[in-house]
């Protein structure tokens, strides 16, 4: 972690099934005097001085640029999340969840704090039926107009 990093609450295993914050929030590291004790200014201007034994225990992801190809593919699109473990066993694609059709809000990479920069996965933030949800970009396909 470095001062000026953009962060968000961790959204990767083992907390992948955690309840999605509505709406999700992002913050900026403005001070980091000692491991586990950064100051974060959230996009709401709320200030949080965090406390943990070390940075990894903060359960934050560093938000980084997604791959250019992912940005090009999904910017400004409506997408459908394809569940690779869908309940529809006869669907060759593994089943789709039509409830998860949504509009792409943001595209970014989440790298768990403490991992090598740029080593995380690309995610889409999508809004569908009034609900925000995130998943790795590979779980989505663009619905053609």
């Amino acid at each position: 972690m470095a001062v000026n990093d953009v962060v968000s609450q961790r959204f990767s295993p083992p907390s992948l099934e955690a309840l999605q914050v509505q709406p999700p929030h992002f913050g900026k590291i403005t001070a980091h005097a000692a491991p586990g004790t950064p100051t974060v200014w959230w996009d709401t201007f709320e200030v949080a001085t965090l406390a943990a034994a070390n940075d990894a225990d903060l359960h934050l992801d560093v938000i980084e640029d997604a791959a250019a190809g992912v940005i090009d593919t999904f910017t400004g699109e409506t997408v459908l999340r394809i569940s690779s473990s869908g309940a529809t066993a006869l669907d060759a694609a593994g089943g789709t969840s039509r409830e998860f059709v949504g509009t792409v809000v943001a595209i970014y990479k989440r790298t768990p704090l403490g991992d090598a920069p740029g080593s995380g996965a690309d995610y889409l933030l999508v809004k569908s039926g009034g609900v925000f949800f995130e998943d790795v970009a590979a779980q989505f396909v663009v619905i053609q107009a």
Binding site: N4, D5, V6, P23, H25, F26, G27, K28, T30, W41, W42, D43, T44, F45, E46, V47, V62, I63, E64, D65, A66, A68, I71, T75, G76, E77, T78, T103, V105, A106, I107, Y108, P117, G118, L125, K127, G130, F132, A145
Partner: protein, 131 residues
């Protein structure tokens, strides 16, 4: 451009590792600069009693755009596009604000389809006529 009292501002959601991405807080939260001492910026935010001062490097500076540009877009219905290709319908919305962010003119639209806010460069929107 140095910050000035009266500028609007928000937390700068970019970094050395986040240049191409555009995060879209819903809804966006903007503060107003009330005091400038060197690079230390004091801000008030609607609904918050007090906000501590913050270094300017952590903030986006939002300033008025040219009146002619604002008049061209404000309250118009626009649709977003990229490389000449229109975005999906969700990016069609009413322009609720027009401003410069660190020198780049942008429109803030409220989607007519799902109520979300999207900030787009004016170069990436087309005004829809007859509305």
């Amino acid at each position: 451009m140095p910050f000035a009292v009266g500028n609007r501002t928000r937390i700068k959601l970019s970094s050395a590792a986040l240049l191409a991405g555009t995060l879209q807080p819903q809804p966006p939260v903007l503060g107003v600069v009330t005091k400038v001492v060197g690079t230390t910026i004091s801000i008030t935010v609607p609904g918050q009693a007090a906000v501590a001062a913050l270094d300017a490097s952590f903030l986006d500076q939002i300033t008025d755009t040219l009146a002619a540009t604002r008049n061209l877009y404000i309250d118009q219905v626009v649709t977003g596009s990229i490389a000449g290709q229109p975005y999906v319908d969700a990016y069609t919305g009413r322009v609720v604000d027009v401003y410069d962010v660190d020198g780049v003119t942008k429109v803030l639209i409220c989607s007519l389809f799902n109520g979300m806010y999207f900030e787009l460069p004016v170069t990436s929107v087309t005004v829809l006529g007859g509305r």
